[in-house]
């Protein structure tokens, strides 16, 4: 098994620079104090940092998992070969009820839970902080921008990338985008900012907006709502979730190499929070789910009017580990 990055740095790089070496570095430049803390000159410190950097860069990219931001949804990550890499611009396109906002929140949740700072430029002002917390986002690490115009949204995203935010999500909201899609030059500027400052940029738009700037474009091909319940006239139903079909429309750079020609689409599923249990022991929501199942079985209808029987069974399997 390949050693992790922490392991390599601690064992092979920092060890030779023990106390003796630090002292030596101080002596070489004649900066060593008579007693007390060891004074290391700036060139010596630069040497140390440079060697640490060299070591980190010598680790193959596949090992550098921290360089990528996974979205947390398996099928999407598979399409993106592990997630969004730093310096990349990925665009997700989808019409209303496509599930792209959920994907965006999922990516933010994955990043903030790993301790990274992240920013959401929310042009439509659509974020519900409580739902964000439920989706797993560590809201203390999330910077939320509520611009009113696409121009200020693009400008804000550029500032955030320049400030060193490792993940910036730009959501253009619902179809009448205030200010339109913006000029292509500003998208290219944004992409250059992502490359220069090594930040990952995830753009979520109702229609293709970034032009040639994005490395990859994922398009959600119609999301369908899944309903729990009878579906017959007058019978109550419950919204259970959403299923969507994701297509990799454009891939450049590493994604064009890694994505196989026939592996450019994937299915994904999202569930309504109230129907998902939160812990292994269950809780109020586990009980709720039982109730829903009883309710569904009592109606003897197809459980998921939007989904196939097969899908429902697979969902139940994953839910209950069977």
């Amino acid at each position: 098994m390949a050693p992790s990055i922490q392991h390599l740095v601690s064992l092979h790089d920092l060890e030779p620079y023990g106390d003796e070496d630090l002292e030596g570095a101080g002596e070489r430049t004649g900066e060593r104090a008579a007693s007390g803390p060891i004074a290391v000159s700036e060139p010596a410190l630069e040497d140390l940092v440079f060697s640490a950097r060299r070591l980190i860069s010598s680790v193959p990219p596949a090992e550098r998992a921290e360089e990528r931001f996974a979205t947390g949804i398996e099928t999407v990550d598979r399409l993106l070969d592990g997630g969004i890499e730093r310096g990349e611009t990925i665009e997700i396109v989808g019409r209303r009820t496509s599930g792209r906002f959920s994907l965006v929140l999922s990516a933010l949740a994955a990043a903030t839970r790993r301790g990274e700072a992240a920013a959401l430029v929310d042009l439509g002002d659509h974020l519900d902080p409580e739902a964000a917390g439920r989706a797993g986002i560590v809201v203390e690490r999330l910077l939320w921008l509520r611009p009113q115009h696409s121009r200020t949204a693009l400008g804000g995203a550029e500032l955030l990338l320049a400030a060193g935010f490792p993940l910036v999500v730009l959501d253009l909201g619902q179809p009448p985008v205030p200010g339109g899609r913006g000029v292509e030059a500003s998208w290219l500027r944004l992409q250059r900012a992502a490359v220069t400052h090594r930040g990952a940029l995830l753009v979520s738009t109702p229609y293709r907006a970034s032009g040639t700037a994005a490395q990859a474009v994922l398009e959600v091909d119609g999301g369908r709502g899944g309903w729990l319940g009878h579906g017959a006239e007058r019978s109550p139903q419950l919204l259970g979730g959403l299923a969507g079909h994701l297509v990799l429309r454009k891939a450049r750079g590493r994604l064009s190499r890694s994505a196989a020609a026939d592996d450019r689409d994937a299915e994904f599923e999202l569930r309504v929070p109230e129907t998902v249990s939160r812990g292994p022991e269950g809780g109020p929501h586990e009980a709720l789910e039982t109730t829903i199942r009883r309710f569904v079985s009592s109606h003897r209808g197809p459980g998921w009017s939007g989904w196939s029987r097969e899908k429902e069974r697979s969902w139940k399997r994953t839910r209950h580990g069977g």
Binding site: S102, R114, G115, A163, P176, G225, L239, P273, E274, S298
Partner: protein, 673 residues
């Protein structure tokens, strides 16, 4: 030990007195006791002829001052530096308007014919403009003279700058008060050790003085420095050319002796008397016997004599550091447009940011006070336009602050021409963070602060921050707090699989809809009888068709309702009731949804985006799930009572819509996405 060291032992700091010196200090009053008595006796004998003649005569010169006096002074070992900005009103004005440096400028005080020149620049002085002239006289000598009135705001800020520069050099700084703007005293005891390379304590003090001059010149204030053991000697030394002037400890009297008497700035009456006596230098005054002078000139004369002998017992009184940084300017003519004002404000901000930088602080809140021109009416007289801008994070980025001022003034114009302004920056310490090598990289606090301020300027207030959910149940509620991310973990945690939850895009504000319900026809604006009847019919039919199965379903739904109440989510309103028609008027089920046309217009007006189309929600309902009841603040006037439905339209879009039970109107407040 360098050769320039004085022969008398100078202790390096106030706390390191030699035992011998302390002893001499104790002895000196005992020695002086009988001698003073003798002098008093002599003074009493000589008083009579003075009273008879009523004109004080010049006393006979006494023996030179005693060496004990010198030692008494050398005892403390404290060193005091005095900074004096010559022609301070002029220097303060030129600091705010540096483009006038090479022009013939005069600062005047008073109005109209009473206007007198206070100070003038070198070109003006070369043309014959002198302090005390009337403005007309000055203009007669130099027609191109640029005249500026004394500006209290300018002088106050320049004085604050002076004190801040002194603060940057010494831990103890005295502010002599508003009477002596342009002067500051510093305690420099022990500071000479910081300039060891200079070679000797005297050279070190000279180097310290040079640094002070350099720093003040960088701030636009030409200054002179004097360093001595007493405040007075330092003040006189600072008045001399060839700055900085250092006076050796214990040699104050020798230093002062050759200087003309007016350096001590005596009272006019005493100065006239001394002039009649033929005394022109400080040394001549010092040589006169103290008692004789005191008997002729009174207490003021005695004090002057003491001063002339280099004795100044006043200690240095350190001031507390200032909590606010101010910059401002009184304008010569009123400014009407924003651009010229911002040009002036930019210079002031530049100075302000440099001052903050010197102290290692950032600006957390900036207060702008604009002095407005009076239009004669009582309401407008001495009008001030006060604005306060809170920053999300301390910053000293001048561009950002200027943009904030611009945005604020554009949003809240003062309404009258501006004749003066003052900017006050409330400082805060910038945030610090420890960077880590192995964990996720944290953001640089400086850059983050600057970016937050720039975002604040770009998007306006209330649009940048960290999201929080205040208590309540309405889905559109939110709260923005200051973004202060916690430090990242030391080691990267492993990647966890996501939860894959369906999120809702909240529509703020909710989009009003026109909904066709089962009740038949369009839903009336108010909750009426027709609705209840319609729903009742639906219910009846439903029960008849479904029978027992439906009842089971309802029980199940009731289970959901109670559980949801625990979880704090929506409550299901539908529950079995013995008399449904009367007690539980059901909510009409939505059948088709269209946006109310008037709403589009109002939305346009609110957002100001006339060219934009409003969000279009239209179609027939394929599936509807609900109603889910939401109640908030039932005790208040502005309570919320809503019945929520999840609906799927024929185009596949999923909406969360609700009917306001108080008004009967329908709204969409979310899109499942």
């Amino acid at each position: 030990m360098p050769a320039s060291r004085p022969p008398s032992p100078v202790p390096p700091g106030p706390g390191t007195q030699g035992p011998g010196e302390r002893q001499s200090g104790k002895q000196s009053p005992a020695e002086q006791g009988p001698e003073d008595d003798r002098r008093r006796e002599k003074g009493r004998r000589e008083k009579r002829p003075v009273r008879q003649k009523r004109i004080p005569r010049r006393p006979q010169p006494a023996r030179p001052p005693k060496p004990q006096r010198k030692r008494r002074h050398a005892r403390g070992g404290s060193r005091i530096a005095c900074i004096v900005v010559p022609l301070f009103p002029l220097a303060a004005r030129l600091r705010c308007e540096p483009e006038l440096l090479r022009e013939g400028v005069a600062i005047f005080e008073g109005d109209g014919a009473a206007a007198r020149v206070v100070a003038a620049t070198r070109p003006a002085r070369a043309a014959g403009v002198k302090p005390g002239m009337t403005l007309t006289q000055a203009r007669a000598r130099l027609p191109k003279l640029i005249a500026r009135a004394r500006d209290a705001v300018c002088e106050r800020t320049a004085h604050e700058v002076l004190l801040e520069v002194a603060d940057a050099v010494s831990p103890r700084v005295e502010d002599p008060g508003s009477e002596q703007w342009g002067t500051a005293y510093l305690d420099t005891s022990g500071l000479e050790r910081l300039y060891r390379d200079a070679g000797g304590p005297r050279a070190a003090e000279r180097a310290l003085g040079e640094e002070l001059v350099r720093r003040l010149t960088a701030e636009g204030l030409p200054a002179r420095i004097g360093i001595a053991a007493s405040k007075l000697a330092a003040r006189v030394a600072a008045g001399l050319p060839d700055s900085p002037v250092v006076v050796e400890d214990g040699e104050e009297a020798e230093f002062l002796a050759p200087l003309p008497l007016h350096r001590l700035s005596p009272d006019a009456e005493i100065a006239a008397t001394l002039g009649r006596w033929g005394i022109t230098s400080i040394g001549e005054l010092a040589r006169l016997p103290e008692n004789e002078v005191a008997s002729r000139l009174g207490d003021a004369g005695r004090r002057l004599h003491e001063i002339a002998r280099g004795l100044d017992p006043r200690p240095l009184i350190a001031r507390p550091p200032s909590p606010v940084f101010r910059e401002g300017l009184t304008l010569e003519w009123p400014v009407i447009n924003l651009e010229p004002f911002l040009f002036l404000a930019r210079n002031a901000l530049d100075r302000l940011c440099r001052r903050l930088e010197q102290r290692g602080l950032g600006c957390k809140r900036i207060e702008m006070s604009l002095h407005l021109e009076s239009d004669g009416s009582l309401a407008q007289r001495n009008g001030y336009h006060q604005r306060s801008i809170e920053l999300p994070s301390p910053t000293r980025d001048e561009k950002t602050l200027l943009t904030l001022l611009r945005l604020d003034l554009e949003a809240h114009p003062p309404g009258a021409p501006v004749v003066g302004f003052q900017l006050a920056a409330h400082p805060d310490a910038p945030k610090l963070a420890q960077l880590s090598l192995l964990g996720p990289a944290s953001l640089s606090p400086d850059r983050l602060a600057e970016t937050l301020a720039r975002l604040f300027a770009l998007l306006g207030p209330g649009r940048v921050g960290s999201p929080r959910s205040p208590s309540g149940h309405r889905p559109e509620r939110f709260q923005l707090v200051e973004y202060t991310p916690p430090p990242p973990p030391k080691v990267r945690p492993p990647i966890e699989p996501g939860r894959g939850l369906l999120a809702v895009r909240v529509l703020r504000p909710p989009v009003e809809l026109e909904v066709l319900t089962d009740g038949g026809g369009r839903e009336p604006a108010g909750a009426g009888r027709s609705e209840a009847v319609g729903a009742g019919e639906v219910r009846e039919g439903y029960e008849a068709r479904e029978g027992r199965e439906a009842l089971e379903g309802r029980e199940a739904l009731e289970g959901i309702a109670s559980l949801d109440r625990q979880a704090g989510i929506f409550r299901c309103r539908e529950r079995p009731s013995p008399r449904p028609r009367e007690l539980a008027p059901a909510v009409p089920e939505p059948k088709g949804v269209v946006v109310v046309p008037e709403r589009k217009e109002s939305a346009r007006r609110e957002t100001g985006t006339t060219a934009e189309k409003a969000l279009r929600i239209q179609g027939s309902v394929r599936v509807a799930s609900g109603p889910w009841e939401l109640e908030e603040r039932w005790w208040a006037e502005d309570r919320t009572e809503r019945d929520y439905w999840d609906v799927e339209l024929d185009d596949g879009a999923l909406y969360r819509i609700y009917r306001d039970r108080r008004t009967g109107r329908w709204f969409a407040d979310g899109v499942y996405d």
